[in-house]
């Protein structure tokens, strides 16, 4: 509606009936079809000046040249990993000039929005200038699951019974079949097993709706909050593209449960952000630590990497490479070796990870005495 005709939209999902309460470009008849395609079609028909091009697939399927071709990127992604990938990709497009400053021609703004029930946020990321998504990773802690001992031995809530049914019983009864949370039959199975368990412990409250909520980790969603956040995002996008006014600096929060609370603040850049700062991190480890244990720390610790590969920076020696398969086979023998057999004290490692395409992390390892 702001007369920006050339828009590309990427989404890997198909339309589900539960989308219809808020995703207003879709109707009952569209259930099962590609979101990107139906959305593009609706807009192109309603607004004939628009040329929306749909891409039904994953954002990771597109290469750097694809992203490079845009003036602005709006992200309405529904998970942290996808946001991290997009953020790292767009940040990697920024080129530095001779003075080490970012070349403005290569900066593509990302406008990111998200909602949860009555709350939401919109932010503007100017890669290398403002904080990026990775700078704020700490505010998205990894999802909490129920403690195993509670689920297995001391259930108290209906949620515990449901967790038992789908994390313990299902893999036991169907070891080769992955639970399909969109299949009514699979979900009915989980619900019934959860109900039986709850009856055994006299726990009330297991319902089909709760079962779905727990298994799919459903976040409530309504039309109004999504309208607010998406409109705020587009407002920033239009201003960025037309220079007609100022830009949000950099993060706006909305909370609508009690009254309406809005808060706008600058999300500060993180000094040692693995994506947008160039610092080499330092890590002190026990000399007995194996390469595999280091990789574990990179996955489970603050960095929350997905599948790290490691090269020694100065010697160029490959320590472990996840892909391609041939290289993985050759290097996997290093996993059980002690780090101090592989590298010198203080040596810098170059870490790459599928979450950060196009960039790498510098990590210097120091051995404790």
């Amino acid at each position: 509606m702001s007369n920006i005709p050339n828009v590309d939209v990427i989404d890997l999902d198909s339309i589900d009936v539960t989308n219809l309460n808020r995703q207003f470009l879709f109707r009952q008849k569209d259930v099962g079809s590609s979101k990107a395609e139906v959305a593009a079609k609706f807009i192109n028909e309603r607004c004939p000046w628009m040329k929306v091009t749909p891409h039904h697939g994953m954002i990771q399927d597109k290469d750097l040249n694809f992203y490079r071709s845009f003036n602005c990127i709006i992200s309405g992604l529904d998970n942290v990993e996808a946001r991290r990938w997009l953020n790292a990709t767009v940040c990697s497009l920024v080129e530095l000039d001779e003075d080490g400053d970012p070349d403005p021609e290569t900066i593509i703004p990302i406008v990111d929005g998200g909602t949860e029930g009555f709350a939401g946020q919109a932010r503007v990321i100017l890669p290398r200038i403002t904080s990026c998504f990775e700078c704020s990773l700490d505010s998205f802690p990894p999802q909490k699951t129920f403690p195993l001992c509670t689920v297995a031995e001391t259930p108290r809530l209906p949620e515990h019974c449901i967790a038992y049914a789908f994390t313990i019983q299902w893999p036991t009864v169907f070891p080769d079949k992955k639970l399909d949370s969109d299949s009514p039959d699979d979900m009915k199975w989980v619900y019934e097993k959860a109900l039986i368990r709850s009856q055994k412990y006299d726990i009330e409250g297991v319902t089909y709706m709760l079962t779905m909520g727990v298994v799919k980790n459903i976040i409530p969603a309504v039309a109004s909050t999504n309208a607010i956040v998406s409109a705020a995002c587009v407002n920033e996008t239009v201003k960025l593209l037309t220079f007609c006014s100022q830009t949000l600096n950099t993060y706006m929060m909305f909370m609508g449960k009690s009254g309406v609370y809005s808060h706008t603040f600058v999300y500060e850049k993180k000094d040692n952000c693995p994506v947008c700062s160039a610092t080499v991190r330092k890590m002190q480890v026990s000399p007995k630590m194996t390469l595999n244990e280091l990789l574990q720390t990179l996955r489970d610790g603050d960095l929350r990497l997905q599948a790290p590969s490691v090269t020694a920076a100065t010697s160029g020696k490959t320590l472990y490479m996840q892909k391609p398969a041939a290289l993985q086979k050759i290097t996997k023998v290093n996993l059980d070796k002690k780090l101090n057999d592989l590298i010198e004290d203080g040596e810098e490692l170059t870490i790459t990870d599928p979450l950060f395409p196009g960039t790498s992390l510098g990590l210097s390892i120091f051995f404790e005495n």
């Binding site: 309460n21 998406s230 407002n235 706008t264």
Partner: protein
């Protein structure tokens, strides 16, 4: 898909009861601007019962230019545009031109569950709103809850709508929404809105642990007996590590009073910082292996539950004080009186909520505790029911009171569980706000005091503080009141400058009426004479000339619809005041003007 219910994602917020209220509601939209249609879109999608659109304008049909190629005429409202459809069916049906009809058509299409209708009026300024509202409600059979949304209307029209809604036989909640260039506002008007299920985010459980002492008049006997039946010292280690913190805290309170194990005997629960520290240490000393006993760690974290008392909100206590047999006007009043009498015979305690949070525990202990709380809550609820029936009998013998005050068992049950969450919203009428009419000097002082306080907490970039922009908008409204159109109509440079000067004059008048003429923030921004700020706000407003920017309209449309949902479902706390969205800097705030 695993469910066929399209409302699944929203049911998880307001439940079946909320959804039912929505489906029994009728929304009247006056004015089909983008802010209005966006507000209504976000209400049609979640399944309101019906809506009715009122407007006085027409939409020009699409024109093809001379060469025959269709010039893609752009429009700025997703739901209001020249009628394509009639033009493609061989011209048999003339194209729709009524803005109300077009909006109604495209909004209805969003959700087959919702019925849409419209009224064309010759002029929104002269329309007989009271009659239109009456005819809309009488035409529907169900007991519809009405709500009115007024979108992008000038103050003179808004004032008459505000008055009609305020004085209607049963006052109609009104949502006033506008978008103006890069600015937008939302204002709620409701003389009285009561909420039982306000569902606050952080609310402590109703555990009543502080009553755990035999000398208390309101002992929770079943809890006391249960706790006494457990001897911590005799438990083997696995069980010891799975005693729920609720019980640990009770035992700790006991020790606190008895002064066991070299601790001093206390006569009161912990109050000072030192005492609270001592209490925490007492809990730790009860543990056998603190680092491994999660339940004791939880007890320490939740130690405050042992000595804090849940309070009923102050405004509700006031209501309780004032409610009496002669003033029962609604089911809410009846419930309040029931509560009042219940508390009188229960040492000032309301009915127990009855739920306990999850905590590290064996299933057995947890289920037993849960049962104890549930049973007491159930008994309290039954007592409430008896009291309520008593009051209803009194009332029916007194006069022939109709069943306007009928309360179902379910409603009573919900009330009992939400006594600490009761909430009341009372707003001023839009008209009294616009005309700077205060009911009393006290009210004037309070409102002006709040505005002053708001100026001490400006945005990081003071000129972008939303409150200032609201004042600028009010100045534009004052201009419109005087000249019949908004400033900036003539876009030539000198004309714009001249309009801006007039707007600046209105800004000063409004600032004075708000009692802020001497205010530092105002002086350094709105009234600044510095080169770069002189008349800056007035000029920006003049530049807009009430332009409709769809994104801004969507933001405030979203806020407006969110508040409307709260008003209809009677869940969650609505905002009280005006939400001001400054789309220039992406900053917003809520103020009472």
């Amino acid at each position: 898909m695993a469910t066929t219910n399209k409302y699944d994602r929203q049911l998880r917020l307001w439940g079946q009861n909320g959804q039912k209220s929505l489906s029994e509601s009728c929304i009247i939209l006056i004015g089909c601007s983008a802010a209005g249609t966006e507000s209504l879109k976000n209400l049609v999608l979640p399944g309101i019962g019906s809506f009715h659109v009122i407007d006085d304008q027409i939409v020009e049909s699409r024109t093809n230019n001379a060469s025959g190629s269709s010039n893609h005429n752009r429009f700025s409202n997703f739901f209001v545009f020249p009628d394509h459809d009639s033009m493609t069916d061989n011209g048999e049906n003339p194209p729709l031109t009524s803005r109300a009809e077009i909006a109604s058509k495209h909004l209805s299409e969003l959700n087959p569950d919702v019925k849409g209708s419209f009224t064309d009026v010759p002029s929104l300024a002269n329309a007989d709103y009271a009659s239109i509202f009456k005819s809309v409600t009488s035409s529907s059979s169900a007991d519809h809850h009405l709500l009115v949304i007024a979108a992008d209307l000038p103050p003179c029209i808004l004032k008459s709508i505000s008055t009609v809604c305020w004085n209607y036989q049963k006052p109609i909640p009104l949502v006033i929404v506008r978008s103006y260039g890069l600015l937008g506002t939302v204002r709620i008007q409701t003389p009285l809105h009561t909420v039982i299920e306000s569902k606050p985010d952080n609310s402590n459980p109703d555990l009543r642990l502080f009553t755990f002492q035999s000398s208390s008049p309101s002992s929770f006997d079943t809890l006391i007996n249960f706790v006494n039946s457990i001897q911590l010292k005799t438990l083997e280690s696995h069980e010891h590590g799975h005693i729920p913190y609720l019980i640990i805290l009770c035992k700790a309170i006991e020790k606190w009073y008895n002064g066991d194990d070299n601790n001093t005997k206390r006569t009161e629960l912990p109050k000072t910082f030192e005492e609270k520290k001592d209490f925490t240490n007492l809990i730790k000393s009860m543990s056998r292996n603190y680092n491994h006993e999660l339940n004791f760690q939880e007890a320490v974290e939740k130690a405050f539950l042992a000595y804090s008392k849940k309070e009923i909100p102050y405004e509700i206590l006031e209501l309780l004080n004032n409610v009496c047999e002669d003033s029962i006007m609604s089911s809410f009043d009846l419930l309040l009186l029931t509560l009042k009498r219940f508390m009188k015979v229960n040492h000032d305690f309301p009915p127990l909520v009855g739920t306990i949070p999850d905590m590290t525990s064996s299933t057995n202990y947890y289920m037993q505790l849960q049962e104890i709380y549930k049973t007491k809550a159930k008994n309290d609820e039954m007592q409430m029911k008896e009291i309520m029936n008593g009051i209803q009998n009194e009332l029916s013998t007194k006069s022939n009171q109709s069943n306007a005050t009928a309360v179902s068992d379910e409603e009573l049950s919900i009330f009992c569980k939400n006594v600490y969450n009761l909430h009341l919203t009372k707003t001023r009428s839009y008209t009294s706000e616009y005309d700077f009419f205060y009911a009393s000097n006290e009210q004037k002082e309070e409102i002006q005091g709040d505005l002053m306080a708001d100026t001490y907490d400006p945005y990081e970039v003071p000129v972008q503080t939303p409150m200032l922009w609201f004042i600028a908008l009010r100045a534009a409204d004052a201009f419109c009141d005087e000249y019949g159109h908004y400033p900036g109509k003539d876009s030539r440079k000198l004309a714009l400058e001249s309009d801006a000067k007039i707007v600046q004059g209105y800004i000063e008048m409004i600032v004075e009426k708000m009692g802020l003429l001497d205010n530092e923030l105002i002086k350094s921004t709105l009234l600044s004479t510095d080169d770069d700020l002189k008349n800056a706000f007035a000029s920006e407003i003049t530049r807009y000339y009430n332009a409709e920017v769809h994104n801004i309209a969507s933001v405030v449309g979203g806020i407006a619809s969110q508040e409307a949902v709260k008003l209809i479902t009677r869940q969650y706390e609505p905002m009280n005041g005006t939400y001001v969205y400054n789309g220039i800097a992406g900053v917003a705030g809520v103020y009472q003007f």
